[in-house]
């Protein structure tokens, strides 16, 4: 059964002066899903989130909430249904963790304010830091606090703009855990990220953006499968270029990035990597061979090339 769309963008454009940040972009987010916006800096991810959160007014097009167009500024009922974590956490550095949460709870009229604040402090592992000034917290803890604040009023829909930006690996994984918990509790989440692994770990569906337009979309696994695999080959000095010429002849090889001492070979989805690895390993000038999944830039380039080639 088709699930109800919670929020939709219908051919939304956003221009800042002469610059087009979003070009006739449409998006439908069903209830209970986690949708990721993926793309390089300047692709339009934050603009999409800003329009969805009501922080920016669409120049053209319509925003629909539960099938009904919403005016800007958003009505307060809609604001109460949303929790937003912006890139800048927008926390009050001079206030304590608890004071920040209490303030937000008061703004949203949260019942049993102190109980709810205590619950979220516990949930996000911030209870022992409740009296600390926010300015004294690490970036990861500040992001966690921003997420806790966005959840205070128990919104149906969460908007997270690069929630792990600038945090260390440990904090990043802790935040991932919280987003997964949101999914389990049935929240609808729209998340933007620069990291493919993050999108893969958290999202049911990924929308890839380029220059304010949709490049492609689909489940993470499908997008990764479309871009194939990468093989890193390290060579002795001067051996890389002759090897490149031999590997270029092999079936399934779509692209080779070469330097004097290393090759990055891209193999198409569905093609075996064995032909390339065998060829490399037979060469005495090769020091190491490693097969890996493509990174975000490679996926993006691959999808962009496929799209441009298709066009």
């Amino acid at each position: 059964m088709q699930r109800e769309a919670l929020i939709e963008l219908d051919r939304v454009s956003k221009r800042f002066g002469r610059r087009v940040a979003l070009d006739s972009f449409s998006l439908s987010i069903t209830r209970g899903s986690v949708v990721g916006l993926l793309g390089p800096n300047g692709a339009g991810k934050t603009t999409v989130l800003s329009v969805v959160a009501g922080l920016a007014r669409a120049t053209e097009g319509t925003v629909l909430w539960r099938g009904r167009p919403v005016a800007s500024p958003f009505p307060s009922e809609l604001r109460r249904s949303m929790g937003v974590v912006t890139q800048e956490t927008a926390l009050y550095d001079e206030l304590t963790v608890r004071q920040n949460l209490r303030y937000a709870a008061d703004l949203f009229g949260v019942r049993d304010r102190d109980g709810r604040v205590a619950e979220l402090l516990q949930l996000f592992g911030l209870a022992d830091r409740a009296r600390d000034r926010v300015g004294a917290l690490s970036g990861g803890l500040q992001r966690r606090l921003a997420l806790a604040r966005a959840l205070l009023h128990d919104p149906d829909f969460l908007i997270l703009d690069e929630p792990t930006l600038g945090v260390d690996v440990e904090a990043r994984h802790a935040l991932w855990g919280h987003v997964r918990w949101l999914r389990r509790t049935g929240k609808t989440v729209l998340i933007s990220t620069n990291h493919l692994d993050e999108a893969e770990a958290l999202c049911d569906r990924i929308v890839v953006l380029r220059n304010g337009s949709r490049l492609t979309e689909g489940p993470a696994a499908e997008l990764l499968a479309r871009t194939g695999r990468c093989i890193e080959i390290d060579c002795l000095d001067g051996a890389a270029l002759p090897l490149r010429d031999r590997i270029a002849q092999l079936p399934g090889v779509t692209k080779i990035d070469a330097t004097e001492v290393a090759l990055t070979v891209h193999v198409a989805n569905g093609s075996s990597t064995h032909a390339v690895t065998d060829t490399a390993l037979l060469d005495e000038q090769v020091a190491s061979v490693r097969v890996r999944a493509p990174d975000m830039v490679e996926v993006f380039q691959s999808l962009a090339e496929a799209r441009d080639g298709g066009d």
């Binding site: 307060s76 949303m82 009050y92």
Partner: protein, 370 residues
């Protein structure tokens, strides 16, 4: 329902702002210090300007000489006589401790009694024309008063004075009361401005747009907190003026009312400046920089209408002009502006309203732009 939610948000914003002020104790402390030091500063200015120290060398010491000294003392408010020896006077003139020395010669009483003209040796350090003129003007006045008291023939002109106001107001009491308006302006202005610039600097404005209430409620809450803190600082200054300087307000309720109106109004002006400048440092510089021009050109030193039409007109560019008009009326019962009390209230209200409109418009633009 919306109003209830708005009021709740207002209370939350005010509480959060007070908590932030509590954390910014250095800033708040400096604002309190500023409130007090400004009063002290202007009274020092009054002291130096109004009480020119003058050495008095009375070589006669007779009853007529003493009577003349009394007339010297009464001759001019800015005349501070210090009896001393000729040698001491010479030394103090040389090192700049006194502006002038007046010598009453040893045969003063005898010469006066015998109808001879007495020459009073006066030495004047005329490096400052303002003080020199005070002394030059005070001496003839004292001589005429002395002559009139002793019914000497030849003085055919006497003033028939009618005071417009039933009481005289000392210069320092006038200055310190004016300074209260300036203190309110600087303290409330800076705190109102900081309440807004803090949001820009901490990049927390986004939260305003995400809140389920109109941002105006949050601004009002922040300004309420700024007003409360400013009111305490201004209250300390009022205490200094009333207890420390012994200035009792003629209309105590009106004095409190004027300050109660001025503080939130100046907080609004500050909020507007904060929205325009967006940074605490320039906004604090602006307010401290405006203090002296506003103080000088607002009727704080003397009623501005005495300084000519151009300066009087220019004075209207500052809300402090109306505030001083109101506060001098409330404390001393003086009308120092041609405008009535009601007109000054209305003008201050217009300043606050204009500040709220401009500030809100700027904030709306700035928030939307982000």
């Amino acid at each position: 329902m919306a109003a209830t939610e708005g009021l709740r948000a207002l209370g939350a914003a005010a509480r959060a702002e007070l908590e932030q002020f509590n954390r910014s104790r250095v800033l708040v402390g400096l604002v309190f210090v500023e409130a007090i030091t400004f009063i002290v500063l202007v009274s020092l200015f009054g002291l130096t300007g109004s009480r020119a120290p003058t050495a008095l060398i009375d070589l006669d010491g007779g009853p007529l000489a003493r009577s003349f000294v009394q007339h010297l003392e009464a001759a001019h408010d800015s005349f501070s006589l210090r009896p001393m020896t000729a040698a001491r006077a010479k030394k103090e003139l040389a090192n700049g401790s006194v502006v002038a020395s007046i010598t009453i010669p040893h045969d003063f009483d005898t010469a006066i009694t015998h109808g001879r003209t007495v020459l009073l040796p006066v030495t004047l350090d005329n490096l400052n024309a303002d003080m020199s003129e005070d002394i030059r003007g005070a001496l003839p006045s004292a001589i005429v008063g002395f002559g009139q008291e002793h019914h000497w023939p030849g003085i055919r002109l006497a003033a028939s004075q009618r005071d417009l106001i039933g009481h005289d107001t000392g210069y320092i009491p006038y200055l310190v009361v004016s300074a209260l308006a300036l203190t309110a302006f600087v303290v409330a202005g800076i705190l109102g401005a900081v309440a807004i610039t803090r949001e820009f600097e901490a990049r927390t404005l986004t939260q305003w747009r995400l809140a389920p209430v109109h941002p105006g409620w949050l601004v009002a809450g922040k300004l309420l907190a700024a007003t409360l803190v400013a009111a305490v600082a201004v209250g300390a200054a009022v205490l200094l003026v009333t207890v420390g300087y012994g200035v009792e307000p003629v209309h105590p309720a009106a004095a409190l009312g004027v300050l109660a109106v001025c503080v939130p109004m100046f907080a609004c002006v500050g909020a507007c400046a904060g929205a325009l400048l967006r940074r605490t440092l320039p906004v604090a510089g602006l307010f401290f920089g405006l203090t002296l021009p506003f103080y000088i050109d607002s009727g704080a030193v003397e009623p501005l209408r005495f300084d000519g039409d151009k300066i009087w007109t220019l004075g209207h560019t500052s809300p402090v002009y109306q505030a001083i008009g109101l506060i001098e009326w409330a404390f001393h019962g003086l009308r120092v502006t041609p405008e009535s009390v009601a007109q000054n209230f209305a003008a201050l209200g217009a300043w606050a309203l204009a500040s709220v409109v401009v500030g809100t418009t700027v904030l709306r633009t700035r928030v939307a732009r982000r």
